[in-house]
């Protein structure tokens, strides 16, 4: 009885510590990392997915895209090699294109 109660208590404590995510504490860091990894790649695809439309995007949107690129840059720099090298260059390319279009509009 004590053994059964003890086991039930342990199970209760574990479930409680999992929290709303339902993930056990020792799993959480890895899963959080995975979510963060998915997050940066989703943001990267969104910001760099508009380069084809750069010439037709409103100026405000271009500025916002440049800002988003600048916010994403440190996240990309924190990736392991060789992803850091590849995606840093790609992000720089997107950002520079948007900045180039903005600058060309200012010159007109």
């Amino acid at each position: 009885m004590a053994g059964r109660t003890g086991r039930a208590l342990v199970a209760l404590v574990l479930v409680a510590s999992a929290g709303p995510s339902g993930v056990m504490p020792w799993v959480r860091p890895a899963q959080a990392q995975s979510r963060a990894a998915e997050g940066w790649r989703k943001e990267f695809d969104e910001v760099c997915g508009k380069t084809q439309d750069a010439m037709t995007l409103p100026t405000a949107e271009l500025r916002a895209l440049v800002e988003r690129c600048d916010k994403l840059a440190p996240v990309v720099q924190g990736l392991g090699e060789p992803e850091r090298k590849v995606y840093a260059k790609r992000l720089e390319g997107c950002r520079n294109l948007y900045a180039f279009v903005l600058e060309s509009r200012q010159e007109r």
Binding site: T51, Q52, P82, K85, V86, N96
Partner: protein, 268 residues
């Protein structure tokens, strides 16, 4: 006899002088059609004790757009500018984005580059790429591959644009897991550039043709950074030196000798 002396002196000095002039004139041998677009990569190879890589653009450009490799995969526009390492390829980036032994192209698995086998291992495929100085027979023969393509005057001797318009090549622009999903680009207008040399036909630049293969970010702002028309005066000297148009049209795209391809609008 005295009259012959100057002639003897000319022969004694003139011919070696001419030979010196040729040696110092900086004339390079024009590459053969299969060689045009060859890039030698040797940032790490010699240090690692392997032969440098001889990368021939013609096969890849027939299958993939410039943008896919130079934007999505991230190769630099200059030889040795990327700093590719075997570990990078083995990790699935750069060459390894496709050359991973799993990706299928044309019904065949693309061979794995920089696999874990030692150079002497039968499974190793090092010399397929690290081939400078080695007699390696390419798997795909240039003549057979390009036999049906419309001919060009220079470079590879192939009219690549013509080959695409005839549907003989269909360069892929998207790689799952690598490329960013994008909408197709709106058609861009051609425009004319007035040459500095009077009497030269105007340059008709086709944005549409370039963006089909390059997108925007391959050229802007890295190669063409001017934000206003006329801000930068491009010179043929700089272009021949590999700047601006010459980033591509000296080494891979149709070469500068094909003047009429750009200087297309005659002087009125």
């Amino acid at each position: 006899m005295r009259g012959l002396l100057p002639l003897v002196l000319v022969f004694a000095v003139g011919i070696p002088g001419a030979a010196r002039s040729e040696q110092t004139s900086g004339k390079k041998r024009r590459p053969l059609p299969p060689e045009y677009g060859r890039v030698i990569l040797d940032k790490q190879s010699a240090k690692a004790g392997v032969a440098p890589v001889a990368f021939d653009h013609w096969l890849h450009r027939a299958k993939y757009t410039c943008r896919l490799c130079h934007v999505d995969i991230g190769f630099a526009m200059a030889a040795n500018g990327t700093g590719v390492r075997a570990a990078d390829n083995a990790a699935g980036v750069y060459c390894g984005a496709c050359h991973n032994g799993r990706r299928v192209e044309g019904g065949r698995k693309v061979f794995e580059s920089c696999n874990r086998g030692a150079p002497g291992d039968q499974k190793a495929t090092c010399t397929r790429c690290h081939s400078v100085g080695k007699s390696v027979v390419p798997e795909v023969d240039f003549v057979a591959f390009t036999r049906a393509f419309p001919k060009g005057r220079f470079g590879n001797g192939v009219d690549w644009e013509g080959a695409e318009s005839l549907g003989l090549i269909k360069p892929v622009d998207f790689l799952e897991g690598i490329s960013v999903p994008r909408k197709s680009m709106a058609a861009q207008k051609d425009f004319a550039l007035t040459p500095r040399q009077k009497g030269m036909p105007e340059i008709i630049f086709s944005h549409e043709k370039h963006t089909v293969w390059n997108g925007c970010e391959l050229c802007h702002p890295e190669i063409f950074g001017a934000v206003k028309k006329g801000q930068v005066k491009y010179t043929m000297g700089e272009i021949f030196d590999g700047k601006y148009c010459g980033v591509c049209h000296v080494s891979v795209a149709f070469p500068m000798q094909d003047c009429q391809r750009c200087h297309a609008r005659p002087v009125q």
